[in-house]
Symmetry: D4
Subunit: 148 residues, 8 copies
C-alpha cells in the first residue's frame, strides 16, 4: 500500500525536507505533495500567468487562485495531511488547509511547538494526532506499515 | 424563507452585536448563532464540566472539545457563515471554522480590514464574498430577500 | 407537503410572474425563489455593497459574487428547479444554474421554445422534463399533488 | 502524480490540439479527455447506434444520450476540467459541463476572450481560474508540478 | 416527531388505503406519499401535459418523465419507504423505487406474499424488514413511537 | 434552535430518565429519542410482528431488523448522540450505534465510568466529548445555548 | 483509460458472452464483471458456505447475502452498468441492480426488446441510454474511446 | 480485479493468519490490512511517539489517536471489512470498526461463534454476511471471483 501525504503550512523554512529525509531513512512507501515552496513565486504566480493586475489586492487574488488550484487538487489526491505551525507568520492558509483536510475526512497530523497549544487548541482537538517534531510526524506514518 | 447565520471568529470584542443590530434595523428573517462569547468561560468550560485537568494542555484540550461540539452542531444547522478577522490575536480557530464552512459547501462571507488582504488571500479566494465592515456583510444577506 | 421552487434563467422579461400566477390559480402549496430580477441592480450590486471597483471586469466579478451567493443559498433550500431559455441573450448563467441543479440531484424542469431544441439537447436530456410554456411547467408541479 | 484533464466546450475548431501541444512541450504528466470532436458524428451518433428516429427532436434526444454518457463518465474520471468559450455558437452544453465540474467539486479553468467577461461573469466567479489563452491554461496545470 | 412515508409499488388495487387506515386507527404521526394511483392518468400524463407524442414509445417516455419527477421529489422528502409486491404485473418500477430507497440510505419495508420470496430474495435481503401484510408494515412503523 | 438527541446504549436501567430530568430542570429546548426500553419487548418484537420464527437465531434476526429500523430512522433525525456504557452487559450494539453516529458526522457524547477508559479508549478518542455522569452530558448540551 | 463494466441481469442465457465478444472484436479497453452465472450455484451458495438452513426462505436469505455481497462490491468498482431484460423471469433483482447503479450516479445502459418498453418505461427514463441489442450496447461503450 | 480487505477485531490471538493462509491456498487476489497486532505496542504507541503522558488515561488517549489514525486510513483504502468477535475481551473497538465499515457503505463480513448471536444480533443484521469460521469468511471472498 502506497500513501500520498500533503504537507500543508508555511513555506518560509525547509521543514518539508526534514519530513522527506526521515521518511527516506525508514524507506516508507510515501509520496509527498505540497504548495509551491518558492515564496516569491507563490506571491507572483497570478501575474506570471495572467499578466499585470490592477492593484496589490487584484495581484493577491490572482495568485491565490493558482495556489488554491494546486492545494485543492493535490490534497484531493492525498490520503493524509500534515500541517506545521511555527512561531512566525499569520499562517491562516495553514489553518485553512488543515481544516479542509479534517472536513474532507482526511486524517490530520498537526506539528506545533508546545507553547502554541493554546491558540491552536480547537484545531488540535480536530486533528487525529498532534506532535511537536517532524520526526514524530514520520513515526506516526511509519506506524501504519508496522506489524509488530 | 428563514436563514440561519453562524458568526465565526474572535470573541474579544462585540462585533456580533453590530451585525445583529444591522439585521434588526432591516427586519431581516435571520437567526444568528456563534461561539461562547465570554472569553474566560470559553477557556474554562472544559474544567467547569469535566473537573480539574492535569495540566494547561489537558485543560485546553477539554475546553476545545466543548467549543468544537458547539461549533460543529450550530454550523451544521446554519445556511451561511460570516467570519471576521481583525488585527489582533492569532485567530487560527476563525480560519479553521471559515474553512470548514467552505468545505461543507456553505457560503462564507469574510470580513477583514483591507490591510489584511495579503495573509488572508487564499481564504478570501475561497470565500463567496469578502467585505470590510459588518454593515456590508448584512447588506449581502439583505440582498437575498430583495426583489427589485 | 410544501415544495420550494427555484426559478433560474434570464431576468429580462417577467416569465416568473406567469409561473406564479398559474400556481396561485391552482392553489398549489409552492414557494418560489430566484435571482434578483432588477437587471441593473443585479449588474451593480457588487459596487453598491463593496464600492467602486477598478475596472468593468472587477465590477462584474464583485456583482457575480453577490448573485452567486444568492443563487447557491436559495437553490440549496429548493426542492425543484425550473430554468427558462429564450431566443435572446447568451444565458450562460441559466445553463450554469440548470446544470448545478441536475448535479446536486434536484429535478430540473426546462422551458424552451421548440426551435431551440438542438443547442439545448444535452441539457434537455439531463432535465427531468422539458416543456415549452410556463403553464406546462406548472402542470408538472401540480401533478405532484394530485391523487386521481 | 498523473493528472486527468477533461476539455469541455465547443467542437468547431481545434483548440484542444493547442492545449495538448503546449502540455507536450512542457512534458507534463497529463492525460486529456473530451467530447467527440467530429461535429457531424456527434449530431448523428444517436441514429448511428439506435437507428432512424421519428423526427429531429427524437434524433437530438438520442444523440445527446450518447454524448452525455461520454461526458459523465470521462469527467468523473478526471481531476480538473478546462472549459473554453468563444464568440460563436450558443455553447450551452459548455456551460452545463463547466457547471457540473464545479458542482462535483472538480476545479474549473475557464478560457474566454476578455470581451466575453460580462455574460460569463457568474461562471467565471465559480471557476478556480479564468484565463484568455490555451497557453495560460497549460501554465496553470504546469504550476501543479513545479517546486521552485 | 413526524415521519413521512413513501408508498412504492403497483397502482392496480388500493393497498395504500389499508395502510393509511391502519395508521389512522393507531393515531400515528405519519404522512403518506406515493405515485399517481389513477392508472390511466399515470399512463397518459405525458401527453396530457406535453401534447400528442409521435408513437407509443415516445408517449411512454413522456409519461415516465412526469412519474419519475413525482417519485424522486416525494421519496427525497420521505424518511422511510414501503414497497408492495403482488402476484400480478411486472412491477419493475416497484423494484426500481425500492432499490433507490435502499441506495439513498432510506429504510425499506417490503410487503410480499410468502410465495414470492425466491424471486424477491435479493431485494428482501437489502430491505430493513420484509413482511406479508399491510397491517404488519404499520406495526413496524408504530414500533418507532412506542416506549414500552 | 431546537436540538434532537438520540440516547444510545443499554436498556437495563433508567439512565435516560436522569438525562431527561436534568434537561427539564434547565429548560433546554431538547427532544430525546432512543431504542425501545422495555427489554423483553425489544427481544420479542420480531416475533410479535412477524410471527413465530424457526429458532432463536431467526427470532433474534427478526427482532434486530425492527430495532435497527428504529435506530437508523431516529438517529438520522437527531443532531447529536449520547451513548452510555456501564459495567454490565456486552453493549456491542451501544458501540455500534456510537460509531455509526461518529461516521455519519454527528457529534457523540460518551458517558462511561472512569475505570472503563482502557477498553473504550478508541471510541472515546472518536467521541466529541467523554464524560462520567448524565449531569455532565446535559451540561455539554446546555453549553450550546448559553451566551455568557 | 480503462473502463470497468458491470453486467447486471438474468443469468439464464449467455448474453454476457455476446457483449464480451463484441468488445473483444473492437479491442476496447474494458473489463467485465457480473453476478455468478451458474444459476444453481447462485441459489445454493448460502448453504454451500453457511451449511444447511432451516427452510427454503432461510436458504434464499443466505444465498442472497452472498449474491448481494458480490453485486455491491463489484458494482462499486465499476464505471458503468449494463442491465439486460428479457421476456422470461421476474427479473426483480435486475431492476434492483439497475436502479442502484442510477442512484449511485453510475451511467446505466439498458438492453430490452422493444415490446417491453411499457413496463420498463420508468427505468428506461432513468437509464442513460436504452438499446435493443448487445451489439448496440457495445457501440455505446466504443463511442467513449473514439475521436472522430 | 484486486480487492483490499481490512481485518478488524481483537489482537489477542492470531486469527488473521488463518484468514491469510486460506486466501493464499486459494490464490485469491487479495491484500490484507489491519490494526497493530502486537498488543503491548498498540497500548504503548502513544507514549512511544509522544513521550511519557501525565496519567493512564492520557496514555490511553495518545495510543488511541495512533491506533485510530491507522484504522481510519487503512479502512478507507479497503473494499470490504471482516470483523471477528470471540468469547473474551470487551471488543468495543471491534464493534466500532465494524459499524464504521457498515456506515461507510463497505460490506461487512462478521465472524462470531454461534452462541454469541444474541448480543451481536443488531450488528449481525447490519453485516452483509455472518459466518462462524475464518474458512467461511474466505469462501465468501472467493465467491467474488468465481464464474461457475
Amino acid at each position: 500500500m502506497h500513501i500520498n501525504v500533503y504537507l500543508a503550512g508555511q513555506i518560509h523554512d525547509d521543514w518539508r525536507t526534514e519530513i522527506k529525509q526521515e521518511a527516506e531513512k525508514k524507506k516508507l512507501p510515501l509520496s509527498f505533495f505540497g504548495p509551491m515552496e518558492n515564496h516569491d513565486r507563490s506571491d507572483n504566480i497570478g501575474e506570471e500567468i495572467l499578466g499585470k493586475q490592477a492593484d496589490p489586492i487584484a495581484k493577491d487574488e490572482a495568485a491565490s487562485q493558482l495556489n488554491n488550484l494546486r492545494t485543492r487538487l493535490l490534497m484531493e489526491k492525498s490520503d493524509v495531511v500534515i500541517a506545521k505551525f511555527g512561531e512566525s507568520y499569520k499562517q491562516w492558509n495553514s489553518a485553512m488547509d488543515a481544516s479542509a483536510a479534517v472536513t474532507l475526512g482526511k486524517p490530520l497530523i498537526l506539528i506545533r511547538p508546545k507553547n502554541l497549544h493554546h491558540p491552536l487548541k480547537e484545531l488540535s482537538e480536530r486533528a487525529q494526532v498532534t506532535v511537536e517534531t517532524a520526526e514524530q510526524a514520520v513515526k506516526c506514518l511509519a506506524y501504519l506499515f508496522e506489524t509488530d
